[in-house]
């Protein structure tokens, strides 16, 4: 039976094995390569997507569990070509280096911005526990998040 996935608003069918990790369907079938399968163990957060609005590592999510859900990938977060609030703040802060972790960072922080408008520096640090960055040393990502929170 085909899986029915709604990805960034598009309804798509997949004949993949229902146990296939969602990240592989996104990348190999739909060519949405924003989500990165960096560790495939749920530690690094680079494959984070929003499933019904909730940040979820797509490497540990069997595609069948996302069947019928609204999936938002990093590609779906910029609307009308405009960077969203956290993307714009990260850009303005010169936070990006190699960039591999940023799709996951952007997904996690987009969720934080909508759910925790009063987040403090320490809250942001704690919220990033599931997102590994090897280049930046995190501080500029945290600064950018505070900037985005202050930009209403």
């Amino acid at each position: 039976m085909a899986l029915s996935l709604t990805v960034n608003g598009d309804r798509l069918a997949s004949t993949a094995d229902p146990a296939t990790p969602l990240v592989d369907i996104l990348r190999e079938e739909l060519h949405l390569t924003g989500a990165k399968p960096v560790c495939r163990e749920g530690f690094c957060g680079a494959c984070m997507v929003l499933i019904d609005g909730k940040p979820t590592p797509s490497c540990l999510t069997p595609a069948a569990l996302a069947d019928g859900c609204e999936i938002q990938t990093v590609e779906g977060l910029a609307t009308h070509g405009q960077l969203n609030r956290i993307q714009a703040a990260l850009d303005a802060s010169d936070a990006v280096q190699c960039g591999m972790c940023f799709p996951g960072m952007v997904v996690s922080l987009t969720h934080l911005l909508t759910t925790r408008p009063d987040a403090t520096r320490e809250d942001i640090r704690a919220a990033l526990t599931g997102n590994i960055c090897r280049c930046t040393g995190y501080e500029r990502i945290i600064d950018a998040t505070l900037l985005a929170l202050a930009t209403k």
Binding site: K36, V38, C39, E41, D94, V96, Q97, C98, P103
Partner: protein
């Protein structure tokens, strides 16, 4: 020769797509008809291949090609060509490639690997440097004498892959002086994994009789040449192009997975993608090497270092690789920082039956700086001098001699220490501390260098007023290709940096380049780009001079115009002049080239070195404060400060980003990152559960001061700024923990169990029996130089 400053606060042009998830790294590439590849790896550390039969695997579903050692006849290496692509008769390490398969799907390729029939007769293994240096040690390379020598000068014997020595002055006499204290310290460090988030990845095709390799590398020309060597084809048959690279840190300076995919593409006639799994990256990542170090110094009561000797053992793993080259660095790192009356150093790259080590940001420097700075504190304690005062009296200054006898220019470290005092004094005093933790602080210094070497650049002036910069430079994340290079070209031509198009690396389009690493991008590629842009400028000014009827020397290039100096709005736009030039004599372009100047060492001082003296020294002063929990052994870094010698900062904000990131990588190394080898010869840490990298909750904001103005032969006075921030982090944390606990810190990382052992006095003093008591007994060949003196 420019009218506009090259210092800018330019944002990265690649950031928006990286933030949208649109950037296609190599691991994201997908070509029509593309096959997927997987590599079969040995599961013993040492053995003889009795049988390797791929006939059953070849009949498995979806399999399009299988390649083995027979397909890759060559050997590669740095200094010594000791490394085949696939294990050749002998297995040298657990994880060594045996065969590679391309199939329609990755699952099919992996299933076919399991159908390859392998029979291996196990052989004795040397898993540690102590094993490998034992008198009756099994030889990791029984036929080491037969290997092609690519670079002359290093002593070799048995499991000693390479030995480099420095001797300057009469060390024996210094140690025999009656007025000196002899201070001896021993250290050991483990391996560090780069954990580049994009694993090593490649997509290869075979077109018109040539290989096209799209790969995640720092060194496209290195990949071109090494792949050709292994495959036994002319290097001109290999084209390497490089998409955006998802992190390098040295991992991608050496060859990785490229030749497997190239061979499979040729065999199958289809494009082939090969991406290492995280587990493969954890097990075979060309780690920062583990090292064992002993330093002895003869120091007067007044604090003068009259003699120093050291033995540095560097584990190269199963093949010599980068470690052979890196034996050179001990002279400039452990032999750096301080004035030495006399000195002798030996660095030995030692073969073991373990996964090969490689290059990692500030290779060799990170642990030698840890060792040197802890040793320095032990000296200061012995003679009863304040450690900061001891450093101030001894740091290298103007006209001082380095370990290899090179003459340093200008006082740099001294003023940097003053700058650190100012930073520290300006900080607000912490609140009262009564939580039972132990507090300590330390200031450390470090010496690094810019790895200069050849680079080429072409600038094509377009008739629309833009310029295209063509180099073999790679954007690995540091931003040099996105910021420093276009800034240099833009300032020379007086155009906006956004008008400088930066061509991604392609060995068919740009000339030779050593690679992105060693802090050399802004310096070497920058110098070549500057020179190419200056040629374009000269040509444009000549055409403009006729158009404006003014002498070229009276013209300036700024804000997209060529005008008479002092008369804004006069003259023509760059677009008009470029269009005119194209119509008159054809499109304008310029080329540039650069390499190091070759600063001399003292004759007779060095043997077996690839770099005798450093062209561009880079200094760093770090300061940190820690709190140690006596109950758990947990170390918290409370604050961290960096004064970094950058020559000139072209984009200060970008450099600050490099420093924050580099310090945090160093904190991982100092406190919890360590890859260890099990008794089966395999790396124990297979993923992020067992290999802990710093997380957002672990880090502190680094307070940064960029020290500008030290002399540099880099373009516009620059030095590399991206590599050095990790240099003294292990040193600063170790010295601070030693100060907090009053215990002798001899090993990194300072994990809670290790710190608890120190606190409970359960840690025995580090014993390194495989380092001989007498310095010269550690050498396979007495120190001898090509000149024959010393």
């Amino acid at each position: 020769m420019s009218d506009v400053s090259a210092t800018m606060d330019l944002r990265r042009r690649d950031a928006a797509d990286k933030l949208r998830g649109r950037t296609r790294y190599t691991a994201d590439r997908y070509l029509p008809g593309m096959l997927h590849a997987a590599v079969l790896r040995a599961s013993v550390p040492s053995g003889r291949i009795v049988r390797l039969d791929t006939s059953r695997a070849a009949r498995m579903p979806g399999v399009r090609a299988i390649v083995t050692d027979a397909d890759a006849p060559g050997m590669m290496g740095i200094g010594i060509a000791d490394h085949p692509l696939f294990a050749r008769d002998l297995i040298h390490y657990d994880g060594e490639p045996l065969a590679a398969i391309a199939a329609t799907t990755l699952a099919q390729a992996q299933a076919a690997l399991a159908a390859i029939e392998v029979e291996i007769e196990p052989l004795p293994a040397a898993l540690t440097m102590a094993d490998a240096l034992a008198p009756d040690a099994p030889l990791v390379h029984p036929n080491w004498r037969d290997y092609e020598v690519l670079f002359e000068g290093g002593a070799r014997e048995g499991n000693v892959a390479w030995e480099a020595t420095v001797v300057r002055g009469d060390v024996d006499a210094a140690f025999a002086r009656p007025d000196v204290e002899i201070v001896e310290s021993s250290f050991r460090v483990g391996r560090q994994n780069h954990v580049a988030l994009e694993p090593r990845a490649v997509v290869a095709s075979y077109e018109d009789g040539r290989f096209h390799i799209e790969t995640s590398t720092q060194a496209p020309w290195g990949i071109r040449n090494a792949t050709a060597r292994l495959l036994g084809v002319p290097a001109s048959q290999v084209r390497v192009t490089v998409p955006p690279v998802g992190g390098g840190f040295g991992l991608k300076f050496d060859l990785g997975v490229e030749p497997f995919a190239a061979l499979l593409a040729r065999a199958s006639g289809r494009p082939v993608r090969l991406v290492n799994s995280r587990e493969e990256e954890m097990l075979t990542c060309l780690f920062r090497e583990n090292a064992d170090i002993r330093i002895r110094s003869a120091v007067t009561r007044e604090g003068e270092i009259v003699g120093r000797e050291a033995v540095v053992l560097m584990d190269c793993g199963a093949y010599g690789g980068e470690q052979i080259f890196l034996t050179t660095m001990t002279a400039h790192t452990l032999g750096g920082n301080y004035r030495l009356g006399s000195v002798r150093l030996v660095s030995r790259a030692v073969y073991t039956n373990t996964t090969p080590n490689g290059a990692f940001r500030c290779c060799n420097g990170v642990y030698n700086t840890f060792a040197l700075e802890r040793h320095t504190d032990e000296i200061a304690a012995r003679i009863g001098m304040d450690p900061l005062l001891f450093r101030r009296r001894n740091v290298l200054g103007d006209k001082d001699l380095g370990a290899t006898g090179q003459v340093f220019q200008a006082d740099v470290l001294g003023p940097m220490l003053d700058r650190m005092d100012t930073l520290r004094d300006a900080a607000t005093m912490p609140p009262g501390r009564s939580d039972g933790r132990l507090y300590g602080r330390a200031t450390t210094v470090g010496t690094w260098f810019v790895f200069v070497g050849p680079s080429a650049a072409t600038v094509n002036m377009n008739a629309d007023g833009t310029a295209t910069l063509v180099t073999s430079g790679v954007e690995i994340g540091s931003g040099s290709m996105m910021q420093a290079l276009p800034q240099i070209v833009a300032s020379t031509l007086g155009i906006a940096p956004e008008s400088v198009i930066v061509r991604a690396a392609d060995t068919d389009a740009a000339g030779y380049d050593v690679g992105v690493g060693g802090g050399r991008t802004t310096v070497s590629l920058g110098a070549a780009s500057l020179s190419a842009a200056q040629e374009v400028r000269t040509k444009l000014l000549k055409v403009a001079s006729d158009m404006i009827e003014a002498a070229p020397e009276d013209l300036v290039m700024r804000e997209g115009r060529i005008e008479i100096a002092g008369a804004p709005g006069s003259g023509r736009t760059v677009t008009e002049v470029a269009t005119r030039a194209q119509a008159l004599g054809g499109p304008i372009s310029g080329t540039g080239a650069f390499t190091g100047a070759g600063v001399p060492a003292m004759p007779g001082c060095v043997a077996g070195h690839f770099i005798d003296a450093i062209d561009i020294p880079v200094f760093a002063v770090h300061d940190c404060e820690v709190a140690v929990d006596p109950e758990t052994g947990h170390v918290e870094v409370l604050n961290y400060r960096v004064v970094q010698d950058v020559g000139r900062a072209l984009n200060p904000r970008a450099i600050h980003g490099q420093i924050q990131g580099g310090v945090v990588q160093g904190l991982g190394y100092a406190l919890h990152e360590e890859a260890t080898i099990g008794s089966n010869g395999r790396v124990c840490q297979t993923g992020f559960e067992t290999y802990r990298v710093p997380l957002a909750l672990d880090v502190v904001p680094v307070e940064i001061s960029l020290y500008e103005g030290a002399p540099s032969m880099g373009p516009l006075g620059t030095k590399g700024a991206g590599e050095v921030p990790i240099l003294n982090v292990g040193a600063a944390v170790a010295c601070a923990v030693a100060n907090a606990t009053g215990k002798r810190v001899q090993e990194l990382p300072l994990t809670p169990p290790r710190v608890l052992e120190l606190l409970l006095d359960r840690k025995r003093d580090l014993d390194l029996p495989h380092i001989a008591e007498t310095w010269s007994d550690n050498l396979v060949r007495p120190h001898k130089t090509p000149q024959g003196n010393a």
